[in-house]
């Protein structure tokens, strides 16, 4: 907000949005081109699918984080919440032997509930989002271990379960294109989130809150309710991520999840969403997530030594965002 007057560069939200898309795309494309040239194995259907599959979980988490970040908040609990939801699914399906749909709905509701809690703590108790979600992160982490008895819960008795992310509806129809369902779900969630952000009141308030919460409050809007709603929706999305990862591993790994919030938030910011709130796009986030997994995959394909992988990743993340900024300025 502060730097506006001085930077005539920044212009209307739609335009910025459009830019970000273009730019982020260009960064992504650059990476893809480089890797394709560097290794014949990169541009294989198999590998592309592997990349998409690898993006699905972090992508979904990043979308959840996007909603929260646009309100000017932050959600550190996405990772452990994902795990918590996976564990809940495990309890419902494996411990209690309930049918698959119950597990799916249960996991998502668990996410919604936990999101509600974060939302209430933030909106009603006025605890800063960073602290509230940091606390939730730890609480959920502990609960996952407690509930699961600190060991993985396997879904072997629920045959259909692995299909959630590993099966391929598309593949069933178009055998040459065995896109895993996990990827479809990612795109589904993305479309949904984009729709909510762009076309619904919730979305509009999400941006408004991030832009100037007090002004919204003084417009007679029930700020608290909408804020809570955003965190709840984000929570539900983490529930979906929980199902994806559990289905992918055919198990709920209770210790998983911490540290994942960083990747998610990174994807959001690389995607051009500002941590100060008020602006951001789901598409940008998707691309941010893809950049991250393309990088990881590509460097592995080139079998770059692991310690160098981190160095390169760090550098490229900075460069990608810098390129983005340059283009915007040169307008």
């Amino acid at each position: 907000m502060t730097d506006t007057a001085a930077s005539p560069a920044k212009s209307g939200p739609r335009i910025t949005g459009a830019f970000h898309r273009l730019l982020a795309f260009s960064g992504l494309l650059a990476l893809v081109v480089v890797f394709s040239l560097a290794s014949p194995n990169f541009m294989q259907t198999q590998n592309i699918l592997a990349i998409l599959q690898a993006t699905s979980v972090n992508g979904v988490l990043a979308i959840a984080a996007t909603l929260v970040i646009i309100t000017g908040g932050i959600d550190l609990s996405v990772g452990t919440l994902m795990t918590f939801c996976a564990v809940i699914a495990g309890v419902l399906l494996t411990f209690w032997g309930l049918p698959l749909p119950v597990g799916v709905v249960g996991a998502i509701l668990a996410g919604t509930a936990s999101g509600l809690v974060s939302g209430v703590v933030i909106a009603k108790l006025k605890v800063p989002p960073f602290i509230a979600t940091l606390g939730m992160m730890l609480i959920l982490k502990g609960l996952s271990l407690v509930i699961s008895g600190t060991r993985p819960i396997y879904f072997n008795d629920t045959p259909g379960f692995t299909q959630i992310s590993q099966g391929s509806l598309v593949g069933a129809l178009v055998p040459v294109l065995p896109i895993p369902n996990g990827v479809l779900i990612l795109f589904g969630v993305a479309l949904l989130a984009a729709f909510v952000l762009g076309k619904t009141a919730l979305g509009r308030y999400t941006f408004a809150l991030g832009s100037n919460e007090e002004a919204v409050r003084l417009s007679g809007v029930n700020v608290d309710r909408w804020k809570i709603a955003v965190y709840a929706v984000a929570g539900s999305i983490c529930g979906v991520a929980g199902l994806l990862i559990a289905s992918r591993l055919n198990s709920a790994q209770p210790a998983l999840g911490q540290g994942y919030e960083l990747d998610a938030i990174a994807a959001v910011v690389i995607g051009g969403t500002s941590l100060s709130g008020g602006r951001g796009t789901v598409l940008g986030t998707l691309i941010g997530a893809l950049i991250i997994s393309v990088l990881a995959n590509g460097l592995r394909i080139l079998s770059v030594a692991q310690e160098w992988q981190t160095v390169v990743t760090g550098t490229i993340i900075i460069l990608a965002v810098y390129a983005d900024i340059l283009r915007r300025r040169n307008l």
């Binding site: 920044k10 209307g12 939200p13 941006f207 408004a208 832009s211 002004a215 007679g220 809007v221």
Partner: protein, 506 residues
């Protein structure tokens, strides 16, 4: 030094994405003169001055300082060249104290340490020279805009520049401080400082300025001597037509039902036992000095701040208002005096800012928004209030100050409340648009809406109010009938701790 003018700006062009802010703009400033820069909202005044003070770089044109062509690349360079500016939008560090704000970048040091004592002493000295009672150590954030504006002025003075640009310095001030400011300006003038004075308050132009330069749509219209040019001429130069300023007609609302009644409102030292009632179709003006408590009263009625005691009745029903939402539900709307912090969602575009208070109206089943309808409505208000913006999807923060204010006004007009509280509604709005807004308010009253107008501009209060409430130090010191004299108002406004006096209000 030569008798070349202090500042010459010739054929300045400046374009922003989607906007041609300046084209062939021209301006000249002599040493020891006060040169008023006039123009409608969005005419390009601030942009021109931001170019002079190194905030923006011009696309084309020449800038000369005492005859020497100069490139002013940054605010720092401007300062070094002796150019100081008071920006229209307050640019203060809210977490810092007044003194720290004033001397930011030029703190007195002892060894490698800051000398807070000297800092506060120097700040105090400046305040004293302005006859301003303000604690240098108070955090700016806790000050009302009026006082923040005074801090900005003090800061600008502290630079001792030879060119001082004042972009609507009095927008937030009222007569008392304006008088002080003018005294200061005259002193600087005597010292040979050249002063650029931007304001939408016509009366000030005559009082303070030597010459007037008028701009329209980013272009130079002309420069005239202030003394022997009638205001009407200047206005018509600005708006390209002559405005008819029809007089105030006070309707008899004594029969109309009471829309809003406030009983024994209390809040600390800011509000002390305030009671008044407001009838449908009535416009009640609130006058008072800075810090009198008008804004505070409005905020409390609106539920923005908690009240300690007191009752609020709307249409004869007592309403428990504990949040702005309750107030809006009860049909009360409040336009804040501080648009930047409490009015505008600067990151959102014009369309959404206008719709912000009425989103549910555009929300269909499933929370679906009807952007089409929002667009139509927004464009309608953009036209009605002559909001200067490339499109209804322009980000609000990119509008000129006055146009931002119009957007906030539009938001509340759209909300269509029965009771509207406007706090400094025409702050930074040009004469033409002011007239429009006055018409609108009068029309709204005509439709039976109850309206409170808080204004530090007495002429505005007098122009609009059917009845005038005057506050002093948190107390209602009296009511006056519409068309009362400025003297009567000032008398009540300065009536400290005296007995409440009510002249029968017509």
């Amino acid at each position: 030094m030569t008798d070349a003018p202090l500042v010459e700006m010739i054929d300045i062009d400046k374009a922003f994405p989607g906007v041609r802010a300046l084209s062939q703009a021209r301006f000249e400033l002599r040493a020891g003169e006060v040169h008023a820069l006039m123009g409608e909202n969005g005419a390009g005044k601030s942009t021109l001055m931001k170019i002079l003070s190194g905030v923006y770089t011009r696309d084309a044109g020449i800038v000369r300082l005492s005859g020497q062509p100069v490139e002013i690349g940054s605010p720092r360079e401007a300062q070094d060249l002796g150019i100081g500016i008071i920006h229209q939008e307050l640019a203060l560090m809210r977490d810092l104290t007044a003194a720290q704000n004033i001397f930011i970048g030029r703190e007195p040091r002892r060894l490698f340490m800051l000398d807070e004592v000297a800092l506060n002493r120097d700040a105090q000295a400046i305040f004293d020279s302005m006859n301003l009672k303000l604690d240098p150590q108070v955090r700016v954030e806790t000050l009302t805009i009026a006082r923040q504006q005074m801090v900005e002025i003090a800061k600008a003075l502290s630079y001792r520049s030879r060119v001082l640009v004042m972009d609507e310095p009095t927008a937030a001030l009222n007569d008392a401080e304006i008088a002080e400011l003018f005294a200061i300006i005259n002193r600087l003038k005597a010292e040979g400082v050249g002063i650029v004075y931007i304001s939408h308050k016509m009366d000030e132009i005559k009082r303070i300025s030597d010459r007037v330069t008028v701009m329209r749509d980013g272009e130079y219209v002309g420069t005239v001597p202030a003394a022997d040019t009638p205001i009407e001429t200047i206005i018509s130069m600005m708006v390209g037509r002559t405005l008819t300023n029809e007089a105030l007609i006070i309707p008899n609302t004594s029969a109309a039902p009471v829309a809003l009644e406030v009983r024994n409102l209390n809040r600390g030292r800011d509000i002390r036992d305030v009671s008044f009632s407001l009838r449908k179709g009535e416009i009640l003006g609130f006058a008072g000095l800075m810090g009198a408590g008008r804004t505070e009263v409005a905020r409390v009625i609106f539920g923005a701040d908690p009240r300690e005691s007191g009752e609020i009745w709307v249409n004869g029903r007592r309403v428990g208002i504990s949040s702005p939402r309750d107030a809006v539900r009860a049909g009360i709307g409040y336009l804040s005096e501080d648009r930047k912090h409490f009015g505008l969602a600067t990151g959102l575009d014009v369309r959404n800012n206008i719709a912000l208070a009425s989103l549910e109206r555009f929300t269909g089943p499933g929370g679906l928004l009807d952007d089409g309808a929002m667009r139509v409505t927004a464009l309608d208000y953009i036209r009605k209030l002559a909001i200067k913006t490339p499109s209804d999807t322009q980000e609000a923060r990119l509008l000129s100050g006055g146009n931002q204010q119009k957007v906030v006004v539009a938001k509340w007009l759209l909300r269509d409340c029965d009771i509207l509280i406007f706090d400094e509604p025409t702050r930074g709005i040009d004469v033409g648009a002011k007239a429009e807004i006055y018409k609108l308010l009068t029309a709204l009253a005509g439709e039976g809406k109850a309206i409170i107008v808080i204004s530090s501009e007495l002429p505005e209060v007098l122009r609009l109010s059917h009845r005038i409430a005057v506050m002093c130090e948190g107390r209602l010191t009296g009511f006056l009938p519409g068309g009362a004299s400025q003297e009567e108002i000032m008398h009540l406004a300065t009536m400290r701790e005296a007995a409440m006096e009510v002249r029968h209000a017509g």
